[in-house]
């Protein structure tokens, strides 16, 4: 579930659902729902624009960046 909506903070204004570039978040029964998590671009637009700071991002393990210490020491 890439964006996580904190239900305690969310005021159901619908803005995140309106601006998501790929239509991931939907308003259902006046509640913002991350309806299509597999289609999230992880752009953070919803997180940045939420007027209540109710959204945090989780980066799924499928999108893991591969990190490595140089073997040569430096």
């Amino acid at each position: 579930m890439p964006p996580i909506i904190n239900k305690k903070k969310c005021v159901s204004c619908g803005y995140c659902a309106q601006i998501c570039p790929v239509d991931v978040i939907k308003m259902e029964h006046k509640e913002a729902v991350v309806k299509y998590p597999d289609e999230c671009w992880h752009c953070r637009a919803c997180e940045k624009d939420c007027p209540k700071n109710a959204i945090t991002m989780r980066y799924p393990l499928s999108h893991l960046m591969l990190n490595m210490k140089p073997l040569g020491g430096k």
């Binding site: 637009a45 991002m57 980066y59 499928s62």
Partner: protein, 557 residues
């Protein structure tokens, strides 16, 4: 589910399909000229497209910084990722010569083009040359462009997917859109004297770095070649689809904006593998991945990989700047966020980079210096066949399209589309998909399309027998898809239409690649291993004329 149909026809002079960077600039330019403009955007122009969260490099020529020798400027820009083959020299000159104009316009509407207080050029640069990539802060660019377009009287219709152009006597007269704001999709008809196709490139045509997650893409995954597909169906000429290539960036988190990294392209030992610099350079960036984005794949395949972005020698100051300023301006601070959440310290750890698969960017409608296609009234900007320049190319050509459309609409009469035969035909087709109670989900078709593209027109091996089979399989996939695809709401319906558009773009790409009987760049034909010098500088075009497909190699202009 049935489809709703809006009774009212939306009438305008100029319909802009796609309110991304190019579309917004076109709208502003046309609005300034006083014509009636409507933008149809499938998402919301404040946060849509590849510039949704910002961009940070604006290729431009500022005479007070670069001097008056325009030919030198052109030669040097031609050496960066925004130049090179498959761009008409006249078009390169056109966007470069007017780039500063847009920079000034953007500054005037509140986009921070000089975060350091002066014109500052960084990244994507060839050591020894002047630098042309203005380092700006694009975090609010889509908001600012939206506000400005509205101030110019432009009407913005968000959540509006345009799916078909309406033609009459060989010129465009309108379009068919689908409003997806509600669960039930609604057909909306547009009557327009001119239409701009500005739907961006085509992501999701090939499997990405995580094929299971199709939206893990460096470009905006909402850009699915809709403009390309509509253009093909309307008899518009497209150029260079066969030369589509790929981007590069971190694995397994596909992000654009590799030019924002300040580090060295290194092997697993941390040893720099490119000849361009031996120290990380904030000024130049690392041009290696611009020049040879396929290098990561090539090194992996020949056993020299993996290849890393190595920031262990980057100064603390530059690292802080890269992670907390530059990546934010560029709209890729989800990298910063993931690194922070996982406690990865770039002073100690390298990040593996990979070559991303083929994606359609600077390939598409073949336009003239007025940004018009061969079909009167159909303009294109952004992902077009003969212009590069990334963002700068898109917005300057968008501006040109807006100006040209304003002149063009004065020369033609409005044509009523009320009884256009394509409308009933399309509604019947949409209804069929929506009324199916079961069938194939769009992802099934999308996955097979990606497999076919990768296996039969991929980046490694291309040949006549592969193309012959690939085209046959694509035809089967399309036939089966048309019989079985279904959608239970407007979101899924949009995805179905995107998948069908992508199939058409894929088919055109494959037809063109089959006809290019030589090896060139990423087009590696095992049956024609040489590069045909007679095709140097030539642009291949494709055009549907009735049931025929016309292919040509044209000279550049």
């Amino acid at each position: 589910m049935s489809i709703k149909i809006r009774n009212e026809i939306i009438k305008t002079d100029f319909l802009i399909v796609g309110g991304g960077s190019a579309g917004m600039q076109a709208a502003i330019a046309a609005g300034e000229k006083g014509i009636d403009v409507v933008i149809a955007e499938k998402a919301d122009t404040r946060r849509s497209g590849s510039g949704a969260n910002g961009n940070d490099h604006f290729a431009c020529y500022i005479p007070e910084c670069h001097g008056d020798d325009f030919e030198l400027v052109i030669r040097q820009i031609d050496m960066t990722m925004d130049g090179g083959p498959f761009q008409d020299p006249t078009m390169l000159r056109l966007w470069v010569s007017r780039s500063f104009e847009v920079v000034q316009k953007w500054e005037a509407i509140g986009i921070n083009m000089r975060p350091t207080g002066k014109w500052n050029f960084e990244g994507h640069s060839v050591p020894g040359n002047q630098r042309y990539h203005l380092k700006y802060d694009g975090t609010n660019q889509k908001m600012a462009l939206t506000k400005e377009a509205k101030a110019k009287g432009v009407k913005i219709m968000n959540k509006m997917v345009v799916n078909e152009l309406l033609l009459d006597q060989g010129r465009v007269v309108g379009a068919i859109g689908i409003d997806i704001s509600d669960t039930q999709p609604e057909v909306v008809i547009f009557q327009a004297k001119a239409v701009l196709l500005a739907t961006g490139g085509a992501s999701r045509l090939y499997p990405g770095i995580t094929p299971q997650y199709m939206f893990n893409d460096c470009g905006c995954p909402a850009n699915t070649g809709a403009g390309h597909a509509m253009a093909l169906r309307a008899g518009v000429k497209l150029a260079n689809l066969d030369m589509a290539a790929g981007h590069a960036g971190p694995r397994y988190f596909a992000r654009g904006g590799k030019g924002t990294w300040i580090g060295l392209t290194s092997d697993i030992n941390g040893t720099c593998i490119t000849p361009y610099q031996d120290k990380p350079s904030r000024e130049n960036g690392d041009i290696a991945s611009d020049i040879w984005p396929g290098s990561y794949r090539d090194r992996m395949q020949c056993g020299q990989g993996p290849t890393y972005m190595n920031c262990t020698q980057t100064t603390d100051e530059d690292l802080d700047y890269m992670l907390h300023t530059a990546m934010v301006s560029e709209g890729i601070d989800s990298i910063t966020d993931q690194l922070a959440q996982r406690n990865i310290d770039l002073r100690k750890e390298m990040i593996e980079f990979g070559s991303y698969n083929i994606g359609i960017g600077s390939q598409g409608v073949d336009i003239d210096t007025h940004a018009m296609s061969n079909v009167p009234g159909i303009f294109a900007a952004g992902s077009v066949g003969n212009v590069k320049g990334s963002l700068a190319g898109a917005v300057v050509i968008g501006m040109v399209a807006g100006e040209s459309a304003a002149d063009y609409v004065k020369t033609v009469d409005e044509v009523s589309v009320e009884n256009h035969p394509l409308i009933a035909e399309k509604i019947a087709f949409y209804s069929e998909i929506l009324e199916r109670e079961s069938g194939a989900h769009w992802k099934e078709a999308g996955a097979t399309l990606q497999n076919i593209m990768n296996d039969y027109a991929g980046a490694n091996v291309r040949s006549e027998s592969l193309f012959a089979a690939g085209l046959a399989y694509l035809a089967t996939l399309k036939e089966e898809s048309l019989k079985h695809l279904y959608a239970t709401n407007s979101h899924e319906f949009m995805r179905v239409l995107e998948t069908l558009d992508l199939m058409e773009v894929g088919e055109a790409l494959m037809i063109m690649a089959r006809n290019r009987k030589e090896t060139r760049g990423m087009h590696k034909r095992v049956d024609y291993t040489y590069t045909n010098l007679l095709l140097n500088g030539k642009f291949q075009t494709i055009q549907r004329v009735g049931d025929e497909v016309k292919l040509e190699f044209r000279s550049p202009f």
